[in-house]
């Protein structure tokens, strides 16, 4: 365990463990409550495996009524709750706390309603991202956001992290593809937001919930927008001598009014790691590789591929291949989709970062990142969602070498600070969680963060839901609510008045 400190467990709550477990067993009968340490091991971490913690108890409710009862009990008895979906978070968003309930939503795994006429599907939060597409593809539909963990990650978790994927420049993020939610507040109250209609009544709480990292409520039902599958999709694999050339090609494609379905870039180290792993036919000598996917009507795809080829040639493309079959297109993607495990083969451990930068900053950020790597004595492979500026540097290290995890974390923090320096952000789609929690002041002022925390107070004044995540400094809601006002004379004599 390294630098990130979680709140100290409350001894008073730990002392009540027996009573709490017994009460939860009454609320969720059968095998829905797990309290044996050996069985709770499966929940001690998410995909940020460097951090582990056994929860007080694990609860797996099956009905909304059970979720409501568990939350009401925890609220009334001041017990913390960490919601968890599939546990694929890369930021520690589902890391348990020792004095809190780990609330797994994975028994909520049913597809409830498929409504092709309204282009909507209603599912429970434990359904996997890919599971939604699987449930609607026989009708020619799919669910657009496709994070690379889509085979495992749950739609509830996607809402918590506002997940993206490779297609979000054209098709949007989770927040653009969710129409409605049913959720349970920490008090146990059940509320419904949105539905198959589009206009929201009142404040857009649906938008607030999406990307709230499990701090505001527990989602129990999701209505998503489903789209008709594009008639065809083809991909171009374009090699460039340098990432500057590749970056300019991306800018020129968008400048020409083309929004590709997907646009991904990899650097030399990532290209070679992926090629060693899956033999996708990537050009090993290229300094940067761009995968551009066009989808839509065949006539449009053919026309745009011609335009992109011309743009690529103008930008010194060193190689260019266009897929001629669905099989070949999948091969082009296989390397990119396997980039993380491919890098895992060339290094004992790696840390996956997730900053976003304005696209144009890419060449300079990559140059600075190489220099940072030299300072920290570590290598870094880069995969980049070129369409939307989301950068995934993979820092290679060996946890068995003393000091390397700490060096990797320090390198990662420097990379994220670099992203912020270039007008980017700390996290594009993995979430703040615990991983980037202490970096939040790099991007936000104290007032920015306090206003965010006040939003939490509207939902969870006792701050019981997913504590220790996202915010570096916890303030009590009473303290956040205080206002210092000076009554008296007008403090703004200079503002024009009419």
């Amino acid at each position: 365990m390294s630098g990130i400190v979680m709140p100290r467990p409350d001894d008073e709550v730990l002392a009540r463990r027996g009573e709490i477990v017994a009460a939860l067993k009454r609320l969720v009968p059968g095998e829905g409550v797990i309290d044996a340490a050996v069985e709770m091991r499966a929940y001690e971490s998410d995909a940020l495996t460097a951090y582990r913690q056994l929860p007080l108890v694990v609860v797996l409710p099956e009905t909304v009524e059970q979720v409501s009862a568990v939350l009401r009990y925890c609220h009334e008895n001041s017990v913390k709750v960490v919601p968890r979906g599939a546990g694929t978070s890369l930021s520690g968003g589902a890391l348990p706390v020792g004095d809190g309930v780990l609330l797994s939503m994975m028994k909520f795994n049913q597809v409830l309603d498929i409504d092709p006429a309204n282009r909507a599907a209603v599912v429970q939060p434990g359904v996997t991202n890919l599971g939604i597409t699987r449930a609607v593809e026989h009708l020619g539909f799919y669910y657009a956001p496709d994070p690379s963990s889509q085979i495992a990650c749950s739609i509830g978790g996607n809402i918590a992290e506002n997940s993206g994927g490779v297609h979000c420049l054209k098709y949007g993020l989770t927040t653009n593809n969710v129409l409605g939610l049913e959720m349970v507040l920490v008090t146990g109250e059940v509320i419904r937001l949105g539905g198959k209609h589009l206009d929201a009544e009142g404040y857009d709480i649906l938008a607030l919930m999406t990307g709230s990292e499990g701090l505001l409520g527990v989602v129990t039902e999701v209505t998503v927008r489903i789209l008709q599958k594009p008639e065809t999709a083809r991909a171009a694999l374009i090699g460039f001598p340098t990432s500057e050339d590749g970056g300019q090609c991306v800018a020129d494609i968008i400048g020409a009014g083309i929004i590709p379905g997907g646009m991904e870039m990899m650097d030399e180290l990532a290209i070679n790691a992926a090629e060693d792993f899956v033999n996708a036919g990537y050009p090993r000598d290229a300094g940067a590789l761009l995968i551009v996917e066009l989808d839509g009507p065949e006539a449009e795809v053919d026309y745009l591929l011609g335009e992109i080829e011309a743009i690529a040639r103008r930008n010194k493309a060193s190689s260019l291949r266009v897929s001629t079959s669905e099989e070949e297109r999948n091969t082009f993607w296989a390397g990119r989709k396997a980039a993380f495990p491919a890098v895992g083969r060339i290094s004992p451990d790696y840390l996956c970062m997730d900053g976003t930068i304005p696209r144009k900053a890419l060449p300079e950020v990559l140059t600075r990142m190489r220099a940072l790597g030299e300072t920290h004595g570590l290598r870094c492979a880069n995969v980049f969602h070129a369409g939307d500026g989301n950068l995934h540097p993979l820092i290679l290290y060996d946890a068995n070498q003393p000091g390397q995890l700490e060096a990797a974390e320090a390198f990662g923090a420097d990379i994220l600070k670099l992203c912020v320096e270039f007008d980017g952000v700390l996290t594009g789609e993995h979430g703040v969680g615990i991983e980037k929690r202490d970096l939040m002041p790099e991007m936000f002022t104290e007032d920015d963060l306090k206003q965010q925390q006040r939003v939490k107070c509207a939902f969870d004044p006792k701050q019981l839901l997913n504590p220790g995540k996202v915010f570096p400094v916890l303030h009590r809601c009473a303290e956040l609510g205080r206002m210092h006002v000076h009554k008296g004379q007008l403090p703004f004599p200079d503002i024009p008045r009419f």
């Binding site: 009544e201 607030l208 939040m440 939003v455 008045r497």
Partner: protein, 403 residues
């Protein structure tokens, strides 16, 4: 209105709101005031006029991003985008014609406050789907920022999106950053004449569920189509409209695909470029109900429920209606003194739920009748708690969204 404050910077906005909070003096937050006739009227002795806080601060076409101060006229933003063949994909409605004032009057802050959207919402979403970042002053008189200038961002709660559509009741936006998109090379509209509402719903549903990438779908019954023909659009009888945008070869290809797909009867014709654009502008802006004295509702339901909703209200009271968003948006004009709020909301509930907003009605009616869809108790209480966290003294646009 006794007093108008016109701050020229975010710091001056902060000073004004700090004073208002300290003195518990409510402020009506305004840009050009083009949406004052929308929503519940605000009772405030002071206005906070943001029109001096104007100007595009950043526009990078290759990055698909624009950032402007909140009082910047929307027309200025659209002109800047137009010069680079770009646009706001969500095609914001211009309420000018419907509310009886000149078009093109609003600001970017007003657009965000009202979460504007247009006919293309089905494909491209609303303003809330395109906002990337915001700087604002809370009702506590504190400057805060949230979001950024990049599309993919989950660093903290998504306050810009949450504040979109909050009608200035949570915070005063001072700067707004938006995603923009390339303008389509060309467009055409697939027009089917002579369908009844049930056939039109079938046609729109089939088109939207196909891979023809229809960007907007509307159905105008004969009496509405007649009003729009009087405004110069080439329509005769009921008109079902399907909008196609994109590269020329692609539009032609998809037009042919729709023709093969939609064997629903009626006569098919094609509106080209400017004729198509002009028609959709009037469909979007509810031009059919401009200049009348009827009460106008905007109703959002599931797309397949639109025709059913219209049939129910037309059986209950005298009204005219048409639908956009493939049936998901109903524009309803009610004659007489009574806007029929209870009957409208009962019909919304009967067709599966949704949202009904009383868009045009005299101010006393917009005070007496709930302008926005009333919320269930737990949700209303949560909304009130959110309001209290941003604006504990209730000084920003009090009553704008409800009493």
């Amino acid at each position: 209105m006794s007093d108008t404050l016109s701050p020229r910077s975010a710091d001056e906005v902060r000073e004004a709101v700090q004073w208002a909070a300290a003195e518990e003096q409510p402020l009506e937050v305004l840009g050009t005031g083009s949406k004052r006739a929308l929503g519940r009227p605000v009772q405030a002795a002071h206005a906070l006029d943001l029109s001096a806080l104007s100007g595009i601060m950043l526009y990078e076409p290759a990055e698909l991003v624009i950032s402007a101060l909140a009082g910047t006229p929307l027309a200025e933003i659209e002109a800047a985008l137009d010069a680079h063949n770009q646009e706001l994909a969500f095609d914001p409605i211009d309420y000018g014609a419907l509310l009886g004032h000149a078009p093109g009057a609003g600001t970017v802050g007003g657009m965000i406050g009202a979460n504007l959207a247009g006919s293309k919402r089905l494909k491209f979403g609303a303003a809330r789907d395109h906002i990337l970042g915001m700087e604002a002053v809370s009702g506590r008189g504190e400057i805060f920022k949230s979001g950024g200038r990049v599309v993919k961002n989950v660093t903290g709660y998504d306050l810009p999106r949450t504040l979109t559509g909050s009608w200035g009741t949570l915070a005063v936006a001072t700067r707004i950053t938006l995603k923009v998109q390339p303008r389509a090379e060309m467009e055409a509209t697939f027009v089917i004449s002579g369908l009844n509402p049930r056939e039109a719903t079938q046609a729109m549903t089939a088109a939207m569920g196909s891979s023809a990438e229809v960007s907007a779908a509307a159905h105008l019954p004969p009496e509405i189509a007649a009003v729009l023909s009087a405004h110069g659009h080439a329509l005769s009888g009921a008109a079902t409209l399907l909008r196609l945008e994109g590269f020329a070869s692609s539009v032609d290809y998809r037009f042919a695909a729709l023709k093969a797909l939609l064997q629903v009867g009626g006569t098919v014709s094609r509106l080209e470029a400017e004729a198509s654009r002009a028609l959709w502008r009037d469909v979007r802006d509810c031009r059919a109900f401009a200049g009348t004295d009827e009460h106008v509702w905007r109703i959002s339901v599931a797309p397949t429920a639109g025709a059913d909703f219209i049939a129910r209200v037309q059986a209950a009271f005298a009204c005219q209606a048409y639908c956009d968003w493939s049936g998901g948006l109903v524009w309803l004009a009610v004659s007489g003194e009574d806007p029929q709020a209870d009957a409208v909301r009962a019909a919304v509930a009967d067709v599966g739920g949704g949202h009904a907003m009383l868009v045009r009605a005299p101010a006393p009616l917009r005070t007496a009748v709930a302008v926005f869809q009333p919320q269930p108790e737990a949700l209303a209480a949560l909304s009130a708690r959110i309001k209290a966290q941003f604006d504990p003294h209730g000084v920003l646009n009090p009553g704008r969204m409800g009493s």
